[in-house]
Each structure stands twice: as C-alpha cells, then as structure tokens.
Subunit: 523 residues, 2 copies
C-alpha cells in the first residue's frame, strides 16, 4: 500500500534524485542502513531507583538464605549441596549469600544465542534488546471466523515461517502447543522440527519430560548436521520452567535441564510466578521472588557447568485480583517486566521477561495498546529478551498469526523508541535552521526544510515506516476503498504462506531427519 | 462486562469478606483510594542525557540570539524590544541570553489550571502528568459507518460530555472544529460554550482572530458568573499558535494573545513544527527549534505580565518523509514529545506536547499501539500536559468518540505505569513469602498468596481494571457471545449521551448566556 503513495517530497526535487531514492526504497536496506535492528541498546527508562534495586537484591538474597527452595531432585540436591548450599531438616535447599555471589561471578555474561543462520545471532550483552515469540498457547485465534480452535503442528510451523519473514521479530520461541500430536515425545520432537524447518532464527523449545531430553538433543544435533556442529553454534535453546513458584524446584524440569546442560543446550531459567497467586501481589514482591528463584537457577547451572549459557528468566505475570484470572495486558505487567530488566542489568546477566502479550481475544484496539505498552517499556528498560512479544492473545491462551504479522510494525516502532534521540552538532541542526530561516549571502531562506539533502538523508536511516499500518488521509483512504487493517493482514499472511520458505531444510538433510524421527509435517 | 465475571478469589474466602468487597467494588472509589489519578509524577524515563539537555538548551539560546524570530506584530516588537530584545535590520527580533534567562526566572512555575469544578484542578508543578484532548480535527470518525464526515458543534459538545464521564481524561482542549457554523466569531464563541456546557474539567480553546478575543473573554466571564470570578479561577485557557515555524511569530495570534493575557486567560504557547518540513528533520533539531520558539513566547508573555500563567507548548510533529504527509503515530513522534518533556523539567516550567494521536482511520489495532506508544512514553517522561491524548485519528484530521471512550482504559494503564513500582518493607513482602512457603510454628505454608489479606488489600489500591478491555478466557468469551470491543463501545457512547449531563449549566445562567450570545446548540 505504501508503495502506491505518491512521493510528494520527491516531486519537489530534481528527478535524478527521485529516481535514485525510488531505487533505494525498492531494494531492502542493508543492515547498517536500517533505522532499527535486533540488539539496539535500551535502559533509559529506570522504573527502580538505585536504592530500590539494592533493596530487591538484598531481599532476594535473604529469601534464598532463610526460605530457600523445596523439591530439588536428588541429583540437584547433590549438585547444590556440593557447591555449598545447605539442605535443612525440612528438605529445603538454602543458599548462603557468598555462594550466590560466587556463582553469579562464574555465570555466562556475554551470551550470544545463535541462529541457524549466523545473520540472526542474538548478542545478549549489556542492555541489548531483542523481541520474539514464546508461550504455550493451546488455541489459535481464528480471526476471519471470529473464533478459537485448537492449535496444531502446522500452525506452529506457519508461525515459524511467518517469523522468518519479519525483520522485527528476532527469535522464535515455541508460542503454542501442537495439540494434534497425542504422544508427548513426538510432540516435543516435532515442535523442534516444525520451528527449525520454518525459520533460521534462534529457536526456543520446551521439553515436557526428562525422558525426552536425550532425543530432543538428537533432533537438534541432526538438524545441525552433527553434535559437534550443534555444540559449536547451539541454535535451539531450552525454555525451562525449573521452578514452581513460590520457591520450589520443578523436580522433573530440573532433571531435564541437567541432561540439556550436559548436551550443550543453552537454558532459559524460567520463573513464571503469578503476582497475587504464586507470587506476592505487590510488584516489588513478585520481582523479589522471581529474582530469588532465578538466582537459585544460576547456582544450579553454574555448579554443574561454570559459564554454561543461561538466560535469567524472571517472568512474573499479573493476575486480575477480582477474578483470580491471569492478565498480561496491564500496566502492572509492563512494570513487572521492566523492573526485572533493571535487575538483570544490575547483575550483568543476560535476562528475559514477558512483554507484548494481550488479554484481548482478537487483534483489536485493546490488543494494540496492550502489546505496545509492555513491549515499548521492556525495550526502554533494556530487557535483553522480550518473550511473548508477538502474536500472543487471550492472556496467553491463544496465538494469532495476523497479530504476529502486525507485531512487526508494532515492534518496529518500539525499537525506534529504544534507539532514542541522537544529539550532536549535525542533529542539533543549528546551521540548517540558520540557512532555512535567513538564507545565505546571495539568497533568502526558503522557510522550510522540505527536500533539503539533510532531510532526505534522514528519510531512510532514521524513520521506521509501517508495512501495514495506514498513514493515508481520510480522502485518500476513501478513494482507495477504505483499506481494512485486518483484511490486509490476512492477505499478507496468505501471501507469506503461499511462498516457498527460504528457511526450509536441504532435501537431503530433511530425508535424514525423517528417516530417524517420525515427522508429522508433510514433506 | 466485568461485573458479571465471577469473583474466583472471593469464593475461596469466607463470604463476609466477599460481600464487603463486592460492596466496595460497586461504589466508586474515593480519590485517595484510586490506583491512578490526574497529576501522578513521571520522569523515570529520560530519553536525553544531562549533557544532551544542555546541548539542546545551548543550541536554542544560540538560535534565539543569532537567528531570532520574524513577523512580530508592532505591539509585540514594542513589548519585546522594550524588555531588551533587539530588532535587526532584517526585521527579526533577536534575544540576548540574559534576557531569556531573566524572563524564565520571572515565569509562572507552579501553575494550576482550574476546572470549572475545583475537583478537576490540574496541578502542573514538577513532573505531574495529565492527559486530555486537543487538536483541530475537521472530521468525525463514523465508526459504525466505516466513514468520515464533517465535524459539528454537537459532536464537540458530545465529546465534552463524554470527557466529563472519563476518569483518565483530565482536561478538554477543543479537539475538533464546528464546521456547521459559518461565522468564525460565532464558531469561536460556541466552541467555548459547547465545551464548558459539557464538562466541568479545564477547557482549552483557540481564538481564530484577534478581533474575537474580547468577545471570547466575555463568554468565559459570563460562564464564570462575572469577570472577577473568572480571573480568580480561569477554567478556560487559550491554545495559541503564536509561532509559524520555523522561527516566525504568527502576527495575528500574537495580537490575540496580548488581549487574552490582559483579560486574565492562561496561555498555551504552542509551537507546532513538522519535523522535516517546518522544523529540522532530526528529532534533536526539531526539539531545539520548538524550545527556542517557546522560549521566545516566555519572553513575550513575561515581558507583558510577569508570571502570567502559560504552558510551554513544544509540539513538534512527525512527518512521513516518503510522502511529505504528517504522521503522529510513530516512534519518532513519541521520542519528540518525551524529549520535550525533559526540556520542560530542565526549565522547571509547566509544559505540554502531543501524545496519543494515531494515524489510523479507525479505532483498530494500529490505533491502539500508536496511542499507547506516545501516551505511555509521555507519562513516563513526566510531561505535564499530554495533548491529543484521546480520540485523535487520521494524523489529526479525524476525531472519534468511541476512541475517546476507549482511551479511558488505555490512559488508565499508562497512568499505572507512571505510578511505577513502590519498594518498601511491605511491598518487598519477605515476611509474606516466608509465611506462604514455610508457614508458622503450628501450621504449614499454604503455598500460594491467593486470598491473603495483603493480596486483597492490593486489589483495589494497586490495580487498574479495564472498563471495556476484555480479560475473559476464550471459553467464557464464546459463552458470552463473543463481545466485540467496538460494538460495546458504541453502546457505551449511546448510554453516556442518553444521560442528562451533570456538567450542564444552571438554567438561569444558561438563559443569561443565550440572551447575550447566539448559541447554536439547542437549549
């Protein structure tokens, strides 16, 4: 639609420049020219004061020291007590402060999460921001039918294929469950296959049972073309709910995690408490508990394998305290995740939290405001990994392909905000202001900045243009038959899915995988 | 809709508590109990470093000193040069730095913009945040008809009536033009009438010609019940585009402003440059120019009347540089306004900028993400007055009643973010965590925070619940016949407009006004 918009600035200029600019806009911008990209640095929004950060840190250490965590598996008890944690007569594992600090010192700081294609590698150092999908939705939002239906493996694969085409969705963590596969091991294996066969971006997956972990590693190794290649560039990570808040290890998930750590798989240490149910109802309290739980995870991982790649996954969620239902689209949710981001920066660890999910059932105005609120705040707070950032609806119960596509526009604008305001002699533009207002020795000022070289040079490098978002005047909109955002997005989805995916596996590799595993997607 | 949602938490508790909570929720919360309110303090998001702020300040002073502003009216030339500004041979008025700093020192800092009802007074001190309407849209968005039509006086009055019912829309600046009134003086007078007759919140209006200013003041005096009463509590302010960027005074608007200053009317010093057309294309440059222009306004106002109430109205807008069309829904726009907020805080002056407007034609997902992006960033940056925050579509060309209603939910969540995260011993919740996880001497921990006194006490004070935003599960949503956000909002609008307005004038006052002025609204 935007390609059809007449270039009014260009027409005020000489045509040579216009042709060149037209050509520039038609071709995809090189990464260095793009106004936004993965890994821009956030952190200019600080919801917590320095003193608040220290208070939360202190409270988390106290919680680990005095409350500790229950339900570690026997293997975990051995690993943790071997490192210096103490198991009480109540079975809980408590963590001396010095142990936590020592393990933080050993932990992986400058983590790169690999893509299957290195162009999609995610540098999680500092406060670099990346957005992607995540979750375990059990439904697809059927936008055209105004309905919900059970999500399938094909839906998941399609989400991967769509994600592969979106500049501003930087990774694909499994956002929904393939409910059409009855066997849980086959589901886990096919989840990895369907994600990786759809995108060359980093893939996160979960493993539902420790007995599946070895096979899931084999699937990742097979896709990589061998274990050594995978260990060199592990492009599949394990999203692992290693705790059951409040302050209990998830016994089986810990066992699965141990296998994956030995197998060379990066771990997302995911603590998903619900503020008011499984975590304190206050924002500060929910952050304290999530931080304490993830610090326990840091001890666990680094006691096993110092420096093993792990993401500090404080994911506290909101609750509608009137109903006891989960809610993810609120301002409280945005604050929970932004506050967590500040704690990650304090520890200097790669971190992630949930942002960009909506409570709305459909991609409507509510979905727009909810998705932007937590997404832009996550970015401004410098969250390394914004999970659930795209396509997630119905308080995490429904995933929506159309919403995923629209999130490319939405996150593009959020990233523009993360990039921020450049201030230097050139951008302050005093000389330009002088020339425009007063002219030079032999010519008057033109009185406007339209069409100056400076203005045009900012056009491509500094501005994020929507792909589907509409900027027409009402007149033009009526003349163009009132383009409807959702109808256009459905058409875009169909176009993407009708195209042969660039991420698909080499046929020989695909045959090898299919010979080894039962793949439910048609070849 | 939310009232029908079963209270799942309550059911886990004893019924006495439930009945009490039900009663509490049915009655309107007292202002001190409300989780959000007008005038919460922002400023935790700082898009500019301290050094950047100084650079922008220096560049603005240099622009005033060396470029200055053209086109001051003769009266303005006298006022400004009388104060120490210098008119050059090119007619431009230039401002020595010391003059700007002296006038800033004299300027009104702790401004309160009055409501007709004092309960709606807006305290613009510090970084207190308020959201409201503004603009000069020439169309109404006809949501049900998927169309646009010319805006009328009745539309404006209806917008005022709707605003009066919305907790999170704190003021009504005239958002659209009454195109059904041919005579411009009658339009200006009826605009004030239609706004004030619909809401007791603060009203901003514009005056299209200096010859209208005296009559507009008379209208405000009449509504107040006399000039002295109005001067004591001026509940109508003048939104005044006193400059035509770049760096020119708007001659007639300055003349109108002088009359309003003498008449006791607060002034919004509005500089509305378009970045890339009438302001530099860079964000920093557009802010420099807007700051310079508003500083010239500060000199003008305070040279006439030291301490006269004025809002520092840096309103730089974005431009789609591909088309030369205005765009207000971008990340660049959100940064422009957030950067301005930081400059206002630097000067310690009450300030305003545009946030929350959308380029979308309809209240769709694009509208939601665009409105939230700039609204929440404006709030987090501590902007005193967020203008255009509600109901504004089509890049300011269309106003939408349904969107105005939905903005009450949207801004409510933005305000929750502005309120931020409270960190103290109670909110850190260590004792609660200990009790929930480990229990007391004679009872085990219950393992969750549901239904504790602490959790319930946070339910009302800390959480913002949507009025129209939907938090149902997919199952419940289907069972309840798939409530549609827009259909429900249209119904809400009709219900509001079917109710007799609490803001309407006393019949005797109304008769007095109607005897003195030609009022186009039916009595």
């Amino acid at each position: 639609m935007n390609d059809e918009t007449p270039n009014r600035i260009a027409r005020t200029n000489r045509s040579g420049g216009r042709a060149a600019r037209h050509a520039a806009r038609s071709s995809k911008l090189s990464d260095s020219m793009r106004p936004v990209r993965a890994g821009m640095t956030g952190g200019k929004y600080k919801p917590l004061s320095d003193a608040d950060v220290l208070k939360i840190h202190e409270a988390a250490l106290t919680a680990l020291e005095t409350i500790g965590l229950a339900d570690a598996p026997p293997s975990g008890v051995a690993i943790l007590t071997g490192a210096g944690a103490i198991q009480g007569s109540d079975g809980r594992i408590r963590f001396p402060r010095a142990l936590v600090e020592d393990m933080l010192a050993l932990s992986c700081k400058d983590l790169t999460l690999c893509g299957r294609d290195p162009v999609h590698d995610l540098d999680l150092s500092g406060q670099r921001v990346h957005y992607g999908t995540a979750g375990a939705a059990v439904n697809m939002v059927d936008v055209a039918g105004n309905d919900f239906r059970e999500s399938t493996l094909q839906d998941l694969h399609d989400a991967a294929r769509i994600t592969d085409t979106l500049d501003n969705v930087h990774f694909l963590q499994r956002p929904m469950v393939a409910r059409d596969i009855a066997d849980n091991l086959e589901m886990d294996l096919n989840t990895i296959y369907a994600c990786c066969a759809g995108t060359t971006k980093h893939v996160g997956t979960s493993i539902s049972d420790p007995s599946h972990a070895a096979e899931c590693l084999q699937m990742a190794y097979a896709i990589a073309g061998g274990e050594a290649k995978y260990r060199d560039r592990p492009f599949v990570s394990m999203s692992n709910c290693f705790v059951v808040p409040p302050m209990k290890f998830a016994t089986e998930s810990c066992e699965a995690m141990e296998i994956c750590i030995r197998g060379g798989m990066p771990i997302l240490l995911l603590s998903a408490g619900m503020s008011g149910a499984t975590a304190p109802s206050t924002i500060a309290g929910a952050i304290v508990q999530a931080v304490a739980e993830c610090l326990a995870g840091v001890v666990y991982v680094n006691a096993m394998k110092p420096g093993h790649p792990a993401v500090f996954g404080t994911w506290p969620f909101g609750l509608d305290l009137r109903t006891g239902s989960m809610t993810v689209g609120s301002g409280e949710q945005a604050l929970l995740s932004a506050g967590c981001a500040q704690m990650h920066a304090f520890y200097g660890v790669p971190g992630g939290a949930a942002g960009g999910a909506s409570d709305s059932k459909m991609p409507d105005m509510q979905a727009g405001w909810e998705q932007m609120c937590s997404n832009v705040m996550a970015g401004l707070s410098g969250l390394n990994m914004v999970y659930e950032a795209a396509g997630m609806h119905a308080s995490l119960l429904g995933f929506c392909h159309e919403s995923l596509i629209l999130s490319d526009d939405l996150i593009g604008q959020a990233l523009r905000c993360v990039r921020g305001i450049e201030v230097d002699d050139e951008t302050l533009a005093l000389d330009q202001m002088r020339e425009v207002c007063m002219g030079g020795p032999d010519k008057p000022g033109v009185g406007h900045y339209l069409g100056t070289d400076r203005t045009l040079s900012h056009m491509e490098r500094d501005c994020v243009y929507p792909a589907l978002g509409n900027r027409m005047s009402p007149k033009e909109w009526v003349e163009k038959d009132r383009p409807n955002l959702i109808e256009q997005t459905i058409a875009r989805k169909e176009a993407i899915l009708a195209t042969r995916s660039a991420a698909r596996f080499d046929p020989e590799l695909d045959a090898t995988i299919r010979a080894r595993f039962k793949i439910h997607l048609p070849a």
